[in-house]
Symmetry: C2
Amino acid sequence: MDRVDVDGPCDQGCPIKKTALIIEGKWTTLVIRELLSGKKRYSHLHRALQGISPKVLSSRLRMLEEKKLISRTVFATVPVTTEYQLTELGLKLQPVLLAMAEFGSQWQQH
Amino acid sequence: MDRVDVDGPCDQGCPIKKTALIIEGKWTTLVIRELLSGKKRYSHLHRALQGISPKVLSSRLRMLEEKKLISRTVFATVPVTTEYQLTELGLKLQPVLLAMAEFGSQWQQH
DNA sequence: GGACATAACTATACTAAAGGAAGTAGTTAC
DNA sequence: GTAACTACTTCCTTTAGTATAGTTATGTCC
């Protein structure tokens, strides 16, 4: 049997929920934040996001790539390097991150 | 022993990270979305957010209350009812949710 | 006066996701 | 041949989230 309407009243396709499904995981917004300032390599991201495990980093990158928010380019350098970059679609997350930054800077820990 | 500086280069007090720490858990943004349209009771939230477990709902509400983003008022009705409402501080999350809604409505599932 | 209902939870058992340590593959420098 | 570098993967433990049953304090129904 199909699950027909699992969501609440205003939830069929609620746009906030759609976005939440992307960014709700740990580290996701910080990966995107790093990429807002331009293309970055795996090792740069790993160093910049101190504390992230390679497992979580690569799974986040794969998830964002699947959702067409970032692109992955491999270069045949020695050793090979990989560059990640926000797509046009991914760049549309910038206002979300900016709003988060605005809130965060107003918010003194209580 | 104290953990002294776990964060990366630009991370000591990165405002995006601060906001991410609040909203990164599952359901958190949807709880806030419900409260944006005014004060709500526990049972309303539970019905509106179909699929949320009472354990997660109450832990989210307690977390948001601790962080002074929502307030909790108990009424001596029969049976007692509880109302949750965004504080002035919590209302400042509105632009974040609006940006998320804007992105979500542009984003057709791939 | 015992059964049932309601609101707002808490408790318990289980599963999925995240974290930490270590290892892998290909290549080049020493 | 050994070490180093990049970009990962694998294995195992810990934490987060799900599903559902139970609790407390009333009050109504019969």
